[in-house]
């Protein structure tokens, strides 16, 4: 069915497109800046001020330096392992929690929910957590410590629950009549329909795992088990010599700026590539088919 589009309609589209183009320019700039800076000669970078648009004296020397670090490869492997395994476990358990919390009231539901919400705002602090994870649970220097303590994040659980609640009741009622148990309803019926919120939550978890370094810094002692971010942080922080510190520290030449930016690129680009995979679940009306079918 084609209808003639009104003038207002077209004007809206044009303005909207211009607005979106503006958004692209503003939003792309930071990452463009990092890219351009990483490909610049650091001597030129040091003197430059203002809006950086193109590399200053193009060079890839910074990347050569970063990839010379033998730890980068092991870091990548560890991170990928943690992201994949971690995200799968996260999504699985978060889905269960969100599903249970999206059901009609049952005894204890409210208490469970409040129990989870409290953890968003309260925590015992780093030292008790350390004693718990390291001394009592024996997770020190074990890659599981990067996954288990953050198995279910309440915030993500709530997002997923909201997504599940949006699914019409008719869907699971019919399944229930067919004699399906809760587990089947969750994974056979609800999960395929709730692809969009699941994708969002998976993305959130994956990005969190990818970016996390603090937990690893606290618990992982073995450099062979370091995730990428921690190795890169080592490069950035350890060499980020404050030029004003007294004594030996101050006499050092600081790491060149372009190496810092190359490091950031190396650490960021792979995770950026995940998004298009997530995006395909955002197609309008993903649910329609399921409701009808």
């Amino acid at each position: 069915m084609k209808r003639k589009r009104s003038f207002g309609d077209r004007a809206f589209d044009i303005i909207n497109t211009i607005f979106m183009l503006l958004v692209i320019v503003i939003m792309a700039y930071p990452i463009w800046y990092v890219l351009v800076a990483s490909l610049s000669d650091s001597n030129y970078l040091a003197a430059y001020r203002g809006v950086l648009l193109w590399p200053l004296k193009f060079t890839t020397a910074a990347y050569t330096m970063v990839f010379k670090n033998p730890n980068i490869v092991t870091g990548y492997c560890n991170t990928i392992l943690i992201v994949v395994v971690g995200t799968l476990l996260n999504v699985f358990f978060t889905l269960i929690a969100a599903y249970v919390m999206s059901r009609k009231p049952f005894p204890g539901k409210k208490i469970f929910m409040i129990m989870m919400v409290i953890t968003m705002y309260f925590n015992g602090g780093i030292i008790p957590r350390y004693i718990l994870n390291n001394n009592w649970l024996g997770l020190g220097n074990n890659r599981l410590v990067l996954i288990l303590p953050v198995l279910v994040v309440t915030y993500n659980m709530v997002i997923l629950r909201t997504g599940l609640e949006a699914i019409p009741d008719s869907l699971d009622e019919s399944a229930r009549i067919d004699g399906a148990n809760e587990f089947q309803i969750l994974f056979k019926i609800m999960a395929p329909v709730a692809k969009a919120p699941i994708a969002v939550v998976a993305l959130y978890y994956a990005v969190t795992h990818w970016n996390s370094w603090f937990t690893a810094a606290v618990y992982i002692r073995d450099r062979a088990k370091y995730p990428l971010q921690l190795i890169l942080r080592d490069i950035l922080i350890n060499n980020d010599v404050n030029s004003m510190m007294g004594g030996e520290e101050g006499s050092m030449l600081a790491i060149s700026e372009s190496i810092k930016y190359a490091t950031i690129m190396v650490a960021t680009v792979p995770i950026l590539c995940i998004y298009p995979f997530v995006q395909k679940y955002f197609v309008k009306g993903a649910m329609i088919g399921a409701v009808k079918g």
């Binding site: 909207n16 001020r49 919400v117 705002y121 309260f122 955002f282």
Partner: protein, 306 residues
């Protein structure tokens, strides 16, 4: 007896749910509640080497010190202004962006905008703040544009106390708008297309559809996000503040976290108990705010976090 058996029946009927939830329950009890007792150090003079059992109990000493701090009022004011400001600006902007993006017809273009919009989220705060400083310095691009419009004088905007909070908040929009919009976009994706088709038949215009179909469909998401974010009103991260502020803007920029950060550095004396006490006060206020906003939301819309 009858009541009890009714409860028992309810539990029995939902037994599958309990079984499903059991691992989650165990997880929360072990990993979260297992370490929560640590907050008691707020009432102690905690010494790491002595541990929890042997450190001295001092009651509310640290809380009194916190409330009596000469800067308490100012810190409270700035903390709330920055976080509430961020919330009130970021959320509407994010939602409007998601709605507008949803209206883009060309799906390829839409995809590009979406992908690009969340990029700033991945650039580290240090780099972002470094850029902000360059942009708002006396010869920076933003200062130049704004002074041409006669809005500001040609000077370093980060050296003017009144501008600190707007800079902080607007740059936050820049950094999180795209990323935060993902959740709304996913909610928009689940809207039943039949509603739009029906509205088309009724001859509803673009804005009418946005107003009467799209927006109401994502209201539950919006209210849940709002409630959860209100719960973080007392927590403003110190990193961005210490990267952007300076002695000329302390007056409007200094928040609890940055103040404590500075104190810790100044004294090189890790004040575990004191900082825990401050954190505890913040948590309690946050939880109170969540409870209140949840209550309001329940009364107004019937949607509740729990």
């Amino acid at each position: 007896m009858k009541k009890k058996s009714k409860l028992w029946n309810e539990i029995k009927r939902n037994r599958q749910l309990y079984i499903l939830f059991l691992p989650i329950l165990i997880y929360f009890l072990v990993f979260h509640y297992g370490s929560m007792y640590g907050s008691v150090i707020a009432f102690m003079d905690y010494k790491p080497a002595k541990g929890f059992l042997n450190s001295e109990w001092v009651g509310v000493k640290h809380f009194i010190r916190f409330f009596q701090d000469p800067y308490f009022g100012r810190l409270m004011k700035n903390t709330i202004a920055i976080s509430l400001g961020s919330l009130l600006v970021c959320m509407p902007v994010t939602i409007i962006f998601a709605l507008l993006l949803n209206e883009v017809r060309n799906s390829k273009f839409k995809r590009i905008v979406q992908t690009v919009s969340y990029l700033p989220h991945f650039v580290s705060l240090v780099v972002i703040c470094g850029m902000i400083k360059v942009f708002v310095s006396s010869d920076g691009i933003i200062t130049t544009m704004l002074s041409a419009l006669g809005i500001v004088e040609k000077q370093n905007l980060l050296m003017v106390a009144e501008y600190y909070q707007p800079i902080h908040i607007i740059s936050r929009v820049w950094q999180v708008m795209g990323w935060d919009s993902i959740i709304y976009l996913s909610a928009l994706a689940s809207i039943d297309q039949e509603q739009y088709e029906a509205a088309d038949l009724d001859g509803a215009g673009r804005f009418a559809k946005m107003r009467y179909i799209t927006l109401p469909s994502i209201v539950p998401t919006i209210s849940v996000m709002l409630i959860m974010k209100i719960g973080h009103v007392m927590s403003v991260g110190y990193e961005k503040v210490i990267l952007l502020y300076n002695t000329t803007t302390y007056e409007t920029a200094d928040v609890f976290s940055s103040y404590i950060y500075r104190m810790g550095l100044a004294s090189s004396y890790p004040q575990f108990s004191y900082t825990t006490a401050v954190g505890l006060v913040q948590s309690v206020i946050n939880i109170a705010l969540v409870t209140i906003s949840n209550y309001i939301s329940k009364k107004l819309k019937g949607s509740s976090l729990w």
